[in-house]
């Protein structure tokens, strides 16, 4: 029987993308927790280029980069498809997945910023949320995937859960639900799905961990 292993970190939104995809497809896997400050030789062997998590290892063969992994999973295990079958609809889904992927850096940008940089980071977050609101979520769908979640919902999950933690860590409210009603609905719908609800890193634990890290980082910045 094929062996599936997933190398991840407990707080990584990228690792969770893969966890949800595997669970949605009903695939058993072995999860290996990595300490990103002390990466295992095995991880470095499997992902020598980027040295990052997540890495999916299927039958001993590594696949790196979460979006590449998700597409691989979807092709190997076609049940509960994560992308539309029609090539055009798939191209549109991939567009939004890329959009989300290109914006995840806003997490660390805001985390690391203070003063003027922070204002700039907040502005970029609001611009991104506006695009989601005005362009991505039109059509009154429950999820990006329609009645069920798909890869696009999974790609935007950092907005649904990790943004809240970030707001707590930096002490700012960036997402005002009344300003982004569609995004707000989507977040509520997304987090209500049992599979998602039961598989999220603890927000308080992440907050405490990140706050501590941020204090240290900002202190060393000002020295």
């Amino acid at each position: 029987m094929a062996v599936v292993e997933l190398f991840g970190t407990w707080f990584s939104p990228y690792a969770y993308r893969v966890i949800w995809a595997l669970k949605l497809k009903g695939i058993s896997y072995e999860y290996i927790e990595e300490d990103i400050r002390n990466k295992s030789p095995l991880l470095l062997q499997y992902n020598p280029i980027h040295k990052k998590v997540p890495v999916l290892v299927h039958d001993g063969k590594p696949i790196c980069e979460s979006t590449v992994i998700l597409q691989y999973i979807d092709e190997i295990w076609p049940q509960n498809p994560l992308l539309p079958a029609d090539p055009y609809d798939r191209a549109v889904a991939l567009f939004w997945i890329k959009f989300a992927d290109d914006k995840v850096y806003l997490m660390s940008k805001l985390y690391q910023a203070d003063g003027e940089e922070q204002r700039a980071a907040v502005k970029e977050w609001l611009e991104m949320l506006e695009v989601m609101e005005e362009h991505a979520l039109i059509g009154g769908k429950k999820f990006f995937g329609g009645d069920e979640i798909n890869m696009v919902d999974i790609a935007f999950s950092f907005v649904a859960h990790w943004l809240g933690v970030l707001e707590d860590v930096v002490g700012l409210e960036i997402f005002e639900p009344h300003k982004f009603p569609r995004v707000s609905s989507w977040i509520q719908n997304f987090k209500s799905i049992p599979l998602i609800k039961e598989n999220l890193p603890d927000a308080d634990k992440m907050s405490a961990f990140s706050k501590h890290g941020r204090e240290m980082m900002l202190a060393s910045k000002s020295n």
Binding site: I76, Y88, A91
Partner: protein, 219 residues
């Protein structure tokens, strides 16, 4: 039904070149529309409202944005000729990984080579060469990244070859001296009509870069 294919593009854009090559490989007739990026057409703004960027592929009136997504789309719709992505899922994942690596590294590092000088440029050059060497290693002894024929990674990467002369002149270095196998691969690709017709002349790209430098006040 007659297929209507339009490509909104900008000749020096390596991203546009990817779609041009894919369309040519498949023998697809299309209308090429050159955009003035300082005066974008209403059509471009309508078809790509989120990014307002080229290239945009318009197939029977419906837009596909992002060059690698366009290449994949072209490969799926016109699947009976010149396949670009492998059929094996693991090989496909490998191809997507390397195309993503090109996207993450080549354009930004190359830009830093022509936009900066001094210490910053020296660092950019060093990282740029390291990236090219990694690509060279991935190529190995294969004629193309796709194996025996042009594939997805070749299409993703070869457009930047048209910018090599500009990088070399601005950075005062020789890419061939550092990565001879990569240049051999590039020249092999250029022998294909689909590639040769899709890439602008290297001198013209250099002239374009000089114009950009003047416009942005970069010496």
């Amino acid at each position: 039904m007659a297929e209507e294919v339009v490509l909104l593009d900008f000749r020096p854009s390596p991203f546009g070149m990817r779609s041009r090559i894919a369309l040519a490989e498949k023998g697809i007739k299309y209308e090429y529309k050159e955009e003035d990026l300082r005066n974008k057409s209403a059509l471009l703004l309508q078809m790509n409202p989120v990014h307002k960027k080229i290239p945009v592929l318009i197939h029977n009136g419906k837009p596909v944005c992002e060059s690698l997504i366009q290449v994949q789309y072209i490969d799926e719709v016109w699947h009976d000729k010149a396949p670009l992505l492998p059929s094996d899922p693991y090989q496909k994942a490998t191809a997507r990984f390397w195309a993503d690596y090109v996207d993450k590294k080549i354009y930004d590092l190359g830009s830093r080579v022509w936009k900066t000088k001094g210490e910053e440029q020296a660092t950019a050059k060093k990282e740029f060469i390291e990236t090219l060497k990694l690509m060279e290693k991935e190529l190995g002894d294969k004629p193309y990244f796709g194996g025996e024929s042009l594939g997805y990674v070749d299409v993703a990467f070869i457009p930047f070859y048209s910018w090599f002369y500009a990088y070399e002149k601005c950075g005062n270095f020789s890419i061939e001296a550092e990565c001879p196998k990569l240049i051999a691969w590039a020249k092999r690709c250029m022998q294909k009509e689909s590639v040769a017709k899709s890439l602008p002349d290297q001198q013209k790209v250099y002239d374009f870069i000089l114009e950009m430098k003047k416009r942005f006040g970069i010496e």
